[in-house]
């Protein structure tokens, strides 16, 4: 056991943070949100620097990929980072060009980046299916949640079936990706809120000095750190069914709590688009619903341990 990042892992984290300092951050996210746009420039920068394929590189792996996903989520990058750096490489052994959408296979489901994606990975139950999305067949769906969302049409090109067991593989790595993005977004939202309550004064003192807020913030810290360790372990275990489901169960289950608490503690200011908090918290709402949300992640974790089942998705194929 050794729970510190090794030198290479630390170097990767530093390098991706340096890139993100230039290309991402809350201001950039606000800029993009005006047009519900995807950050193609950031995607390209990450791709060219090799961060999207890091899970496949000799001497690196899923833990390094998850560090990248977590960092991008912390920096509020508007890219399909979990799908592009974790899920697609695990299924395809390569990184597809352009944004990648992940779909549970439910009719009419809301899908992140569906409009901007060049391909989608579909949970077809036993098999995962790679569907090209040439000519942007998806319909945009307006939401209040910053991330561009869309619906895929009922009839799609046949796509490439990825073989028996690939459905389970998709769900395992998708859960790992959800967890990593949740951890990054929760970390940033919590840090920002701690800063806010430290500076905001009412009744002649910082509001963060009230124990009524301190205990709840401390509880969120325990939850975010616990979720992070579960996520890193799941990455280290190459998204084993149980480890990945536990990570997603914990983080997706915590996401709503963090959303509610951070917005309560930042008051009306946190509900404005002038304060950056919403850049992270709104994403948590999107993430917490993916692949059936905490309810199904918890069931998947229990099935993996006590029923030795492969996990079930939400779609018709299951």
């Amino acid at each position: 056991m050794d729970l510190d990042l090794n030198q290479d892992q630390q170097a990767i984290q530093d390098a991706v943070e340096a890139l993100l300092a230039k290309h991402a951050g809350p201001e950039r996210a606000v800029e993009l949100q005006v047009d519900d746009a995807y950050d193609h420039a950031l995607h390209q920068a990450l791709e060219e620097a090799g961060f999207l394929e890091i899970g496949l590189v000799d001497g690196a792996g899923w833990l390094e990929a998850v560090l990248v996903v977590e960092a991008v989520a912390r920096a509020a990058g508007t890219v399909s980072i979990g799908a592009s750096a974790v899920v697609a490489p695990a299924l395809l052994a390569r990184v597809p060009r352009g944004a990648v959408a992940l779909a549970g296979g439910e009719e009419g489901e809301l899908i992140r980046h569906a409009v901007q994606a060049s391909c989608a990975l579909l949970d077809g139950g036993e098999e995962a299916i790679l569907v090209p999305l040439e000519g942007s067949p998806a319909t945009p769906v307006a939401t209040n949640y910053v991330v561009p969302m869309g619906r895929l049409p009922g009839s799609l090109p046949e796509g490439e079936r990825l073989g028996p067991g690939s459905g389970e593989l998709l769900r395992r790595f998708w859960r790992l990706a959800i967890a990593a993005e949740c951890v990054g977004a929760m970390r940033a939202a919590l840090d920002l809120t701690v800063e806010y309550v430290t500076n905001r004064r009412q009744f002649g003192r910082p509001v963060g000095s009230f124990q009524a807020l301190q205990h709840r913030l401390a509880e969120c810290e325990v939850l975010v750190q616990g979720g992070r360790w579960l996520t890193l372990r799941a990455a280290h275990r190459a998204a084993s069914a149980e480890a990945a489901a536990l990570a997603a169960a914990h983080t997706a289950g915590t996401a709503l709590r963090v959303f509610n608490e951070m917005h309560q503690m930042t008051g009306a200011m946190g509900f404005t688009r002038e304060h950056p908090l919403h850049i992270w918290t709104t994403r948590l709402h999107v993430l917490r619903h993916e692949l059936g949300g905490a309810r199904l992640h918890r069931q998947a974790a229990a099935r993996a341990r006590w029923l030795h089942h492969t996990t079930q998705g939400v779609g018709r194929g299951n």
Binding site: M1, Q9, P206, W229, L230, A249, A302
Partner: protein, 381 residues
Amino acid sequence: MEFDWSPEDQAYRAELRAFIAATLPQSWAEISQEGPGGAAQVAYSEEFCAELARQGWLTQHWPEAYGGKDASSWRHAVVSEEMWGNAEPRGPRYMTVNWVGPSIMHFGTEEQKALHLPRIARGEEVWCQGFSEPEAGSDLAALRTLAIRDGDEYVINGSKIWTSYVNHAHYCFLIVRTDPESKGRRGISALLLPMDLPGIELREIPGLLGKKYFHEVFFRDVRAPVSCRLGPEHEGWEVVTYTLAYERVGAAHYERAERVLDTLAEAARKRGLLEDPSILERLGQARAAVEASRLLTHRVIDLREKGSRPTPDTNIARVAGTWAVRAVGDLVHELHGAAALAYDTEADGYYRLSQWAGVASGTTEVQLNLIASHQLRLPRE
């Protein structure tokens, strides 16, 4: 970053499991019904610890100079997990080797080390912790028990409360106020007090957790030699901080929680409930809490192994541990229903102790205060 146990530690765990399976008596479930402080478990722990010491496993995490094997903190964690996973056959002696011994090594005189360490290492001494007082619980630094210097003796007057294992203890790790003019953290000293001195009286407080669990201890003009003081006079708060950092994650509560959760899943399976999505959901949710607690505790062990000072990581791990134990405890009642009310059931045994998790060794609220100030660095009033 490496989440797997070394092959050596894995092999050792297998060996230890085999030893435990071969050593624990048939009646272990009955013996352990009252928890580590129950009379039967305390009595059995003497025999078990002696056997463990013969194997060289009771204090292997101690330095060689004190009869240990310099084993890593990870090796010690394997022992903690296997012991708590089996309802702690070391009884109260777990805390003697976990933090009493290390505190004596760190702060003790050569005489104190020579007196206690070899006996602790053989599993012979039982200790209790004289910290809480009726007016000093969460606010431990408000303690009032006085030890006034009289020549080469201290004269102790006052009382301690909630003192687990005191009815079995040979010594008390006692904190007292040696400077009667002082307040708060200054003026406190730690004493290694023999429990057979005249003037010490016990009163049992009937409690919800089990028989003979809570006690109050009264000290009336108890005269103890100054040589039993641990560390510098009036500066015992440092000793307290040191011991608490060891105590708070010394017991691998998550390991027991995990095993109880496994038995709950088995019970649900037998009743045909294991395919029920709502049951699966609750089991999965509790298991996520247990595993988060395990990993946060492992992080503390990792820091300790690397020589890091006590940090808020310890408080974070403790809070997560309490949540894990509670989540499983609540599920015990949910799955077993009214049957879990019966005193002599395994379900009740676990539930009774699980209620206690947020109070023992510092309430959850105190842990949260420490996280708020030392981890989040939130402002004070």
